[in-house]
């Protein structure tokens, strides 16, 4: 790990001023940053420690049913907040399907949004990587691309954003509150992360020194609470990043002539497929007015992956992503379970002979 100056600001304004100096990085949970520093991938000259700032971990219920969550809120504390989990069950499920108990106790809301890709070539300092060094090339292409992007990638970069949490958040129109030297501004999470283009090192819209102070879920996001799920395909049962994942949320109403329930509004987003959490608006539009059946769900899944193309030897991810979208919609239609399953977000039954999520 490189040497750095350690700064402990007493206020958000002090933090922003300190982090606006070139070479600075914010320290929150540290679960991603310290790992990157130990690998020599991140080499900040100054760490601005947010952990002692009072009130940055606050969770507030907003009038009408929305919620505002401070950026320093720990993943475990957010997922286990009963009111939050009741209003936004798919977000709680996504949080609890990520990492391990230890990491969820340390990792924060802001840090999760800003976590770096898990592309092995990004993590290997000996490999060429346009994210680490602009213009150096991308060694992932033509390499082991099993975990790489199938949507929104460019010739410069085929890495994916690894977050679970961000997937239901982007489906539910979460807003990111940002504080910088020029004051406070807000950005929809959907517009927060940048696709790689020819500038893969620029991963978000944040300017140097800008700090995520909170996220907000609007009141409308809570209207999906009865039919909201997050589903995540992993290469082992637990404690693994998603190969592909999907959040699905539905509002339904009974048909007027007794012809069964129909979808009034749908939200669909994908994880593990692109450099950002991927909102599938075409799938959502297709679902409005549809019945809750496999024809509709499979059609939506086709639409969600309509623009997908493999970035290497990973065409399988496109079909896996279609399957996970259809499955997430099926489970959302069945209804949010009273209590999260023992293995949150798992598409598989883990007890022999039992039905998944039975």
């Amino acid at each position: 790990m490189n040497s750095f100056d350690y700064v402990r600001p007493a206020s958000i304004a002090e933090a922003v001023a300190a982090a606006s100096q070139p070479g600075s990085a914010y320290l929150a949970g540290g679960t991603n940053l310290l790992d990157l520093m130990k690998g020599g991938i991140a080499r900040p000259g100054r760490l601005v420690d947010l952990n002692h700032l009072a009130g940055l971990d606050r969770i507030e219920a907003l009038p009408g049913g929305g919620m505002r969550i401070g950026a320093l809120r720990r993943n475990a504390d957010l997922a286990h907040d009963p009111e939050f989990a009741r209003r936004f069950p798919a977000v709680a499920e996504a949080l609890l399907s990520g990492a391990s108990g230890q990491l969820r106790n340390a990792a924060t809301v802001g840090g999760n949004i800003l976590q770096r890709t898990r592309c092995a070539y990004f993590y290997d300092a000996a490999s060429r990587c346009n994210k680490r060094q602009t213009g150096s090339g991308c060694e992932a292409q033509g390499g082991d691309t099993r975990s790489h992007a199938v949507l929104g990638w460019s010739e410069s970069c085929i890495a994916t954003h690894p977050s679970d949490f961000c997937v239901p958040l982007v489906a539910l129109d979460a807003v990111v509150e940002i504080e910088g030297q020029a004051g406070r501004r807000e950005v929809a999470l959907e517009s927060f992360h940048r696709l790689p283009g020819d500038e893969p090192a620029q991963e978000s819209v944040l300017a140097p020194g800008e700090l995520i102070v909170a996220i907000r879920l609007p009141a409308a996001a809570a209207s999906f609470s009865a039919h909201a799920r997050y589903l995540k395909l992993r290469e082992r049962t637990s404690y693994a990043f998603a190969v592909v994942s999907a959040a699905a949320a539905l509002r339904t109403e009974e048909g007027r002539r007794g012809d069964g329930a129909r979808i009034v509004e749908a939200r669909v987003a994908l994880g593990g497929v692109a450099a950002k959490p991927w909102r599938a608006r075409a799938a959502e539009e297709l679902l409005v007015g549809s019945r809750l059946d496999q024809t509709a769900f499979r059609g939506a899944a086709e639409a969600a992956l309509g623009d997908a193309k493999p970035s290497g030897d990973n065409a399988v991810k496109i079909e896996l992503a279609r399957c996970i979208v259809a499955r997430a919609l099926t489970l959302a239609a069945a209804g949010t379970p009273e209590r999260l399953p023992a293995l949150p977000a798992s598409p598989f039954a883990t007890v022999p002979g039992a039905l998944a999520h039975a």
């Binding site: 760490l47 108990g101 340390a106 404690y239 023992a342």
Partner: protein
Amino acid sequence: MSLSISLTVNGVVRKITLQDPRVTLLDLLREQLHLTGTKKGCDRGQCGACTILVDGRRINSCLALAISHDGSVIRTIEGAAQGDALHPVQAAFIAHDGFQCGFCTPGQIMSAIGLIEEGQAGDDPERVREGMSGNLCRCGAYAGITEAVLEAQRILAERERKEVA
């Protein structure tokens, strides 16, 4: 900024001067406080061998900067037993063969204590396995570990009931 911090480690307040802000809680415990029960496995937050309780919550001490945890209350495997009386989780690991080589065991035990205090897993073996998935065991003692955590959880719940009564 001064690199002097104060930590309460297993009930004892320690004033500590750090040589460098890069020191993790794990290295501080092992190298400076000579509490070598907490193990360094991967040092990258993947194996769980370094699990300790900070302010009652289990975390990976390899990914925690000591300087950032100024003022924290820390519990390590050395603070689990009370004198010669083993913590119920320790006793249950012995009773159920919850280890073979023992390297991951301090982390497993501190993780299990943290999990039980979190109160999310209850008596469901699947929830215990999921809750313990951040602790790897190369010897593959998982079956014994799950049984040990379930038994310790029962004993601690029983003890709590008696204290309330």
